[in-house]
């Protein structure tokens, strides 16, 4: 793929937003490196984004927040959402009930993963981060994405027996929109790793898994390097690294579902 000035004009914003796929990113960068006009164009795209940081952010006034919370409390006591008006009167007596409901659903939702994920942890071990990106890029460039191509986890999991000295958990996320593509043995930062490959539309997601003895609880890190998003955590004695050029929010969604399914 190659790009001309018109293509760059079209994709400069998506590039500045980190929303361009790998192939287009490389083509755009190749063109820009030889074109002064398009270099200026990219600078302008970044300048507009930068200028917008000065815009005000409107937070909800406290009075509105109070009304919305009251509406939520009323809806909690009445799952169908009907007759909300009548229920507002009952809220006084049943005040403990929405609180209890809140506590229970909060506990269920607050998987350690989610909570820790939100706290932007410091950039993970640089050497491993680089190795994971290299592994990802290598798998795309060499046309060596998978050693075993299968969308069936019952085919992929046994394939690793005898190839790695641990048994990776392979989960099916096709109903979540992340079909399994296959598996591969890789070598990441002195670890023999099981690589599981998933896809989201045309985006490839590499999941690297290797045993990691650690006493610390699940420790989630996120990083953003050269247009790739990485998320990693450790659970059940296994280090898990996921990497893709997918939008961060989608990769986070994938990470949550993967982590939940692996420890179901």
């Amino acid at each position: 793929m190659s790009m001309n000035c018109e293509d760059v004009e079209r994709f400069a914003g998506a590039y500045a937003d980190g929303e361009l796929d790998l192939e287009r990113t490389l083509a755009l960068e190749a063109h820009v490196s030889t074109c002064a006009a398009c270099t200026t164009r990219l600078d302008e795209a970044h300048a507009v984004k930068h200028a917008l940081r000065a815009a005000p952010y409107f937070r909800a006034p406290e009075a509105l927040a109070a009304r919305v919370r009251a509406a939520a409390a009323a809806a909690s006591t009445d799952a169908t959402g009907m007759a909300r008006q009548a229920n507002i009167l009952r809220v006084q007596r049943n005040r403990w009930r929405p609180w209890l409901l809140s506590a229970v659903s909060l506990a269920a939702a607050a998987l350690v993963f989610v909570v820790v994920l939100r706290e932007r942890a410091a950039v993970a071990d640089d050497a491993t981060t680089e190795a994971v990106i290299e592994g990802h890029v290598r798998s795309l460039m060499a046309g060596h994405l998978v050693d075993v191509a299968s969308t069936d986890r019952h085919t992929v999991k046994p394939w690793f027996a005898g190839r790695v000295d641990f048994s990776p958990t392979v989960v099916d996320l096709v109903t979540d929109g992340f079909p399994l593509v296959g598996g591969r043995v890789d070598y990441i930062d002195r670890h023999t790793a099981a690589a599981l490959i998933y896809k989201r539309r045309d985006h490839v997601i590499n999941v690297f898994v290797w045993p990691q003895a650690t006493g610390s609880p699940s420790h989630v890190t996120r990083s953003d390097v050269r247009g790739y998003h990485l998320i990693s955590w450790t659970r059940g004695g296994m280090a898990v690294w996921i990497v893709s050029d997918l939008a961060l929010s989608e990769l986070e969604d994938f990470g949550r579902k993967l982590d939940a399914a692996m420890h179901d």
Binding site: R10, G13, A55, P56, Y57, F58, R59, A60, V68, A72
Partner: protein
């Protein structure tokens, strides 16, 4: 758990209000739209099936803004009012304080000069940090359309900012 929790919806209140505040152009209408959107979302929370709760909520807010505009017939072009400026923008961070007030005012005017179609993609992308896919969900348009609307919106912003500089 496919139904969206009320806590999840409540956690996006600022995002809902910020979007409505930009699209409606004034605090009173924005509050009305947001409150109405929450009543709808809370009533529909049990029926919510998958997807991103924030995008779902924001799409309800966004549709509320559009139907409110239709009711009001004409979108009042509110003149910039210095007394209104910053009325509910929260406590400025130290970083914000260093940005000179004039810059903030100029950027605000530029964003306010956009059409709602351009404004909403800028707000969702730049102020809320939504991915193109999430924006596509909110505005019910394909991702490619989101990309071209953002391009156009940014070109309009660049022009508006340049014009202010004279």
């Amino acid at each position: 758990m496919s139904a969206v929790s009320h806590e999840a919806l409540l956690s996006h209140l600022d995002a809902a209000y910020n979007l409505a505040r930009w699209l409606m152009g004034n605090p009173a209408d924005a509050e009305d739209v947001v409150q109405d959107a929450y009543v709808r979302a809370l009533a529909g929370a049990e029926q919510f099936r998958g997807g991103d709760p924030r995008a779902w909520l924001l799409s309800i807010v966004r549709n509320g803004c559009y139907s409110s505009h239709r009711r009001l017939r004409v979108r009042q072009a509110t003149d910039f009012d210095e007394t209104v400026h910053g009325e509910d923008t929260g406590t400025p961070s130290p970083e914000q304080l260093t940005i000179d007030r004039d810059t903030s005012r100029r950027v605000r005017l530029a964003v306010e000069s956009l059409t709602p179609e351009s404004q909403e993609v800028i707000v969702l992308r730049e102020f809320e940090g939504l991915s193109y896919k999430e924006i596509a969900e909110v505005v019910a348009a394909p991702v490619g359309t989101v990309m071209s609307r953002l391009s156009r919106a940014r070109a309009q912003l660049a022009a508006a900012l340049a014009e202010q500089r004279g």
